[in-house]
């Protein structure tokens, strides 16, 4: 094979000259991380709300939670992204849609990708939250209510703190998925990590270096996330608690 390895390519100037190729990659990494963290925050918030809804008494609220999960879990991610990016501004009231279209293109892409990843991941988080609450002994809810706590207070102080502890491991893998899924944002032009590596290949014709570098960067992200979640897990460990039942 006569591939010419050239690791020095990363320090070479890009055609526009204002950055190095490594700079491109780091810029991509920055957008990937920013997008993923923002999407994760949205996913935790919405996922908790809809997961809780699925477990409250009655018919309407659990139905609403179920509908959310089905909708966002069953439509392909790419279709959801295009919907947020191309369709959503058209469906909003005229003034809002126009306001969005006047945003910096980068920001438009980020906004669409953020809503897309956040709402998509929220459906998966909701399922975990529901499972976590469902795994608690039924008497926990009764015990909270019997003390005079309202249902929201019972969720806030009794059911959710324990559920979240139980679902840290599956949430970790959902968190990692957000980073992987964030690559779809490249399809609408957001210059996140995978897109920047593709650009690197196009400009430098050094695909191996580019893909190895980008793989290492994704790996680094994984290691950091897993370390972080492990820290969360150990911080929240409940003394004397074994299993979930």
């Amino acid at each position: 094979m006569n591939y010419h390895w050239n690791w020095g390519v990363f320090l070479a100037r890009t055609p526009s000259g204002e950055s190095t190729y490594l700079g491109w990659l780091l810029q991509g990494l920055w957008w990937t991380v920013a997008l993923s963290l923002a999407a994760w925050a949205l996913a935790l918030l919405l996922g908790t709300i809809f997961g809780v809804l699925r477990t409250v008494p009655g018919r309407w609220l659990p139905g609403l939670g179920a509908a959310y999960v089905e909708l966002f879990r069953n439509v392909p991610l790419l279709v959801q992204l295009f919907s947020w990016y191309f369709v959503m501004p058209e469906l909003l009231p005229r003034a809002w849609g126009d306001a969005i279209k006047q945003l910096d293109p980068m920001l438009q892409q980020f906004l669409a990708a953020w809503l897309c990843l956040g709402t998509f991941t929220a459906a998966r988080v909701a399922e975990q939250v529901r499972a976590g609450i469902g795994s608690l002994p039924r008497g926990q809810r009764a015990a909270g209510l019997a003390l005079g706590l309202t249902l929201p207070q019972t969720y806030r102080h009794v059911l959710l703190p324990m559920s979240f502890r139980i679902i840290v491991p599956p949430l970790t893998s959902e968190f990692l998925n957000v980073f992987k899924n964030s690559a779809v944002a490249s399809t609408i032009g957001l210059i996140e990590l995978s897109r920047q590596s593709q650009q690197l290949v196009d400009y430098t014709a050094q695909p191996y270096e580019a893909f190895i570098a980008v793989t290492l960067l994704y790996l680094l992200v994984n290691v950091v996330v897993m370390g972080g979640m492990r820290w969360v897990e150990s911080r929240s460990r409940v003394p004397g608690f074994i299993g979930s039942k």
């Binding site: 008497g139 015990a143 706590l149 004397g240």
Partner: protein, 243 residues
């Protein structure tokens, strides 16, 4: 204090409670017994609105439990409840288990709530365990904490749903002792239990349930002397021989 008037409840088409009448007066200890599935837990959970019922009237301290406008959390805060499986909150220390509802429901200051909790822990003989977590205590200890947690709300009456039936035999007495003491202090209590020794000691009345009906409701002496229904006699002979 607690008054059931023709209370009926259905799960779908299955009738769990069939026109139950029962009164627990202030300072009275009423023991409810009956075979498994007879509706004892359901009955006692109706008393603080944890289970809704479809027919009849149920009042606690004059307040209707089933009425639409009733502030159930407020009512429940005044009615202590102890469960078969303790139901302490596993992620909180014993101290916080005792303080949570005092702070969130009664609006007590945290220091006051903790102090009150410690006092009650001491009363059930567990003052040294305040910093531990539920999972680090034995079943009997957890149940005593659960009783203390309910007492911390200064309840006007207490509901017990088989408080000792999930315990290893050697731990039953430590819990019963706390309950006996509570009864002797004049607490109004409704206890689902098969501990007939406890009933003999402190109950004023014993109620026997079968298939959702209250088939016997008699003063203790009468109940143990000459239970009128055949079912109750059969049931009694079974559990008394068993124990």
């Amino acid at each position: 204090m607690i008054r059931f008037r023709d209370v009926s409840k259905w799960y779908g088409s299955f009738q769990v409670l069939d026109a139950c009448n029962l009164e627990v007066n202030k300072g009275e200890v009423v023991v409810v017994c009956g075979p498994s599935g007879s509706g004892k837990s359901t009955l006692i959970k109706c008393a603080n609105g944890l289970e809704p019922f479809q027919k009849g009237e149920l009042t606690v301290d004059g307040i209707s439990v089933g009425a639409r406008g009733t502030n159930l959390p407020k009512l429940r805060a005044r009615v202590g409840m102890v469960f078969q499986h303790f139901e302490l909150f596993p992620h909180m220390s014993i101290r916080d288990n005792l303080a949570l509802a005092q702070v969130k429901v009664l609006g007590r200051g945290r220091d006051e709530a903790v102090a009150k909790g410690l006092k009650l822990l001491d009363r059930v003989g567990l003052a040294a365990q305040a910093g531990k977590f539920p999972g680090q205590l034995s079943g009997g200890q957890q149940q005593r904490v659960a009783i203390a947690r309910a007492l911390a709300m200064d309840p006007i009456c207490m509901l017990f749903d088989e408080p000792t039936s999930a315990l290893d035999p050697e731990m039953i007495n430590e819990v019963l002792e706390v309950m006996v003491e509570l009864a002797r202090e004049g607490m109004t209590m409704m206890c689902v239990t098969h501990e007939m020794g406890f009933a003999q000691k402190v109950a004023h009345r014993v109620v026997f349930m079968d298939q959702g009906r209250i088939v016997e409701d008699a003063p203790k002496a009468e109940f143990f002397g000459t239970p009128r229904s055949e079912r109750a006699q059969l049931f009694l002979s079974k559990i008394l021989h068993h124990v």
